[in-house]
Amino acid sequence: MGEKGKNQIKIVVAGPYAAGKTQFINTVSEIQTVQTEAKTTKSEEKSVKNHTTVAMDFGRITIDDNHVLYLFGTPGQERFDFMWDILGKGMVGLVVLVDSTDPSTFHEARKIINYFESRYPAPFVVGCNKQDLKGAWDPQDIRIALDLNEDIKVLPLVALSKESVKNILLELLEEIAKFI
């Protein structure tokens, strides 16, 4: 998976089904994101999108001759949550995405946060995706819905925009800097 001889730094991008994780990684990855997709089977999932991540996605950003940053996207559906454990080990930080237009995804995001905070408490930020769409909730309201304190950054995001994705990553790196 990694380039031979290079140290791999891992950031995990987690979030509920259809929150935009694969798009987030695609937007900044220097390689075509490696995807492990399958056709969605449940009718309610099919109505949202036809394919879903089942193992993980990953994208790459080369830092220097010795280091490479990998962005790993977790599967969004709860039945693949065994992957959270595999991906959580060794991560330097976590980005949790929610679909700002769909409050049902907030519950799933809270579960993901609960899981990682109890087992792999790395620095994390929340990206409130689809802020460009009608009906998007305000990040401040999403913070309350997710039971998050003011010390956790809950940020607006449009995963199709490179600047917006970069901003989320930079905010996460700023959080990581506090613990070095």
């Binding site: 940053l69 905070e117 819905a145 800097a177 613990f179």
Partner: protein, 231 residues
């Protein structure tokens, strides 16, 4: 921005939590197949519930004194009317909701009469197993009391079992540990903790230390930041 959704996935506790925490003023509209209710909020607490035949009627009145006039009620009637209509509102389990922030003006003498914390705790006692899993999904979670927990708990009118659980929340004990010590079943504990979280009595324990799974140096982190900025 919107606060909209359906009650099937976002219940009244979840909605009240957001409105109370941010001390919002405005109107929550709840629509099911049979009725349209307008719930008037001041500083995050409910002051009045109005049944209207059409939703747009709600937006004809920008001043709460106009609402009272149309409803033919006086300030002294607000508590009685609210207590009579609350069960009708809270019985709705399916339908759409949307909150419009601001919009309605209240005079200073209109005060919230039923603390929303009390309603949150009342509703939390009826949560289903599926619902409690939304917030209390992990037995390893650790909670601590919030800064102003005492005044909120007083408003919430806690039961004896809720008081017992609150006494065990210290920022050290996990949910699992509290369940063992309190000798109560999982669902009861999850309901209580859900209510406490939504009411603002407790919060997730703030992490002083965080685990970074790589030997990152400040120099390397600076390189990563520069690289991301340059993308």
């Amino acid at each position: 921005m919107a606060i909209t959704g359906t009650l099937e996935v976002f219940n009244f506790i979840d909605i009240f939590q957001i409105l109370k925490k941010d001390r919002k003023n405005g109107i929550l509209v709840v629509e099911d197949n049979k009725k349209n209710l307008a719930v008037y909020f001041k500083d995050g607490d409910i002051v009045y519930i109005r049944d209207v035949p059409k939703v747009f009627y709600i937006y004809l009145d920008v001043d709460f004194s106009q609402v009272m006039k149309k409803e033919n009620i006086k300030k002294e009637d607000l508590y009685r009317m609210l207590v009579a209509r609350l069960p009708i509102l809270l019985a709705i389990k399916k339908g759409k909701f949307s909150f419009t922030s601001g919009f309605i003006k209240y005079s200073d003498d209109i005060k919230p009469l039923v603390p929303v914390e009390k309603i949150i705790m009342y509703l939390s006692r009826q949560l289903t197993e599926n619902e409690v899993e939304r917030k209390i999904s992990d037995m390893k979670l650790v909670f601590e009391k919030t800064e102003n927990w005492e005044s909120i708990a007083k408003n919430a009118h806690l039961t004896n079992i809720e008081k017992k659980i609150l006494a065990l929340i210290d920022g050290e004990r996990s949910v699992e540990k509290i369940m063992e010590e309190a000798k109560i079943n999982r669902l009861t504990l999850q309901r209580v903790l859900y209510g406490f979280l939504a009411a603002g009595i407790i919060q997730r324990k703030k992490k002083v230390k965080r685990k970074i799974g790589f030997d990152l140096t400040k120099n390397l982190l600076s390189k990563i930041i520069a690289r991301i900025k340059g993308l």
